[in-house]
Symmetry: C2
Subunit: 258 residues, 2 copies
Amino acid sequence: MNIPPNHPRRESLLIRERLVEGFKKGVVAPEGLIAHGRGECFDYLLGERTHDFALKAARVAVAHMLLAKHPVISVNGNTAALVPREIVELAETVGAKIEVNLFYRTREREEAVARQLLEHGAVEVLGVGEDASATIPELFSERRRVSPRGILIADVVLVPLEDGDRTEALRRMGKTVIAVDLNPLSRTARAASVTIVDNIVRAIPLMIKEAKQLKSMEKARLEEMIRSYDNNAVLQEALRAILERLRELSSSQLLINP
Amino acid sequence: MNIPPNHPRRESLLIRERLVEGFKKGVVAPEGLIAHGRGECFDYLLGERTHDFALKAARVAVAHMLLAKHPVISVNGNTAALVPREIVELAETVGAKIEVNLFYRTREREEAVARQLLEHGAVEVLGVGEDASATIPELFSERRRVSPRGILIADVVLVPLEDGDRTEALRRMGKTVIAVDLNPLSRTARAASVTIVDNIVRAIPLMIKEAKQLKSMEKARLEEMIRSYDNNAVLQEALRAILERLRELSSSQLLINP
């Protein structure tokens, strides 16, 4: 593919290429490419940068993972294509298990996602084939399958790029759910316990950095951080940022094109 | 693919499936799936309905096409996958030629797009293989190729889902460019002469309806419609609609999740 070097959306197009690569390896579903585009749009509305509200959420998310008995990182195709090495590093740093969890589940894709993670240093990947033998109540078809050693018994689940139905179902099971979602209005964003409104290519490296810092912090301080966190306030801040950016863009539009 | 019948985004997911179908037939590029997702997000921000500003633009767009000497409809993979029959009907109604014009041009995909259009009733499809022998100045690589019987000599070009670079290049060639673009802030939207800020699955049927009505209108009235049209005002209205909808969504969010 030839992306002109002076193309104004070059960086975003290069991330696309990474996803298309993942697609060609069977890691990403065609629907995953569409979902990525949806995210691109919200990222554009956020100015393609990490805001304070995302940093705040990422820090509390890491606190949850460090305090958890059974933290699990749920990985779908897009996550595996975009940040495979980072997922493995985060799992190691906070002591979480990694589980494959697909919206459009096929055996081939489960294995492709697991292979991608193993190639990037994962020691164990749950949720593949027979291992995904437990079910989440109230969900339909293949989307309810989880590992009895992973998401089923997890107290804290990180679900980057998750679907609203599953996020809600996990919450009803009493789990703490951490979402990475660029749309602060999505059902996922609203149902999650902690929502990091940021691009996953920035959010996971940020979580790794935070995890390294918070690891040495005493338990009581982490608990205090969690207690004082308000996810609704974070979502409101994200929304305000989008509204402000749209206003900005609309006034610069007037200048460019009077 | 199993989309639960009660899924709140069911309709949008069904359009996705149509695009994935087109992808499997070789009509849609993987990057086209991502671009669709970007559009989905803006459609969501527009409330997934046709607004007055889109109707106004669609009407003037049709007036341009009816008055043109050489109107051409430029068709990419996504357009061919989503509204092939409608493109053919619109071309017939306004007397326009149809030309294949791909961002990621390969001979296979050119032919797949042409085949899709021919299967849906097109009599002739320009821009395939040797026919795309002319070039648009200032554009790179395969993206500059056009038909000497089509876009090259066109006075009015309808470019649904076009790239900003090409829209600008066509404008510099002195052509009237009609874009269908869900993002009122995109370079395409801003560079076009007439921008229909609406989903293509609603916009093209709307244009057909308008074309049938305006066909019998006298030339002077069509010209008057064009003279009194202000594309910047239309883009501002679209932006205002998005801002309003975000404000609405944010207050309903407060109610749902206090």
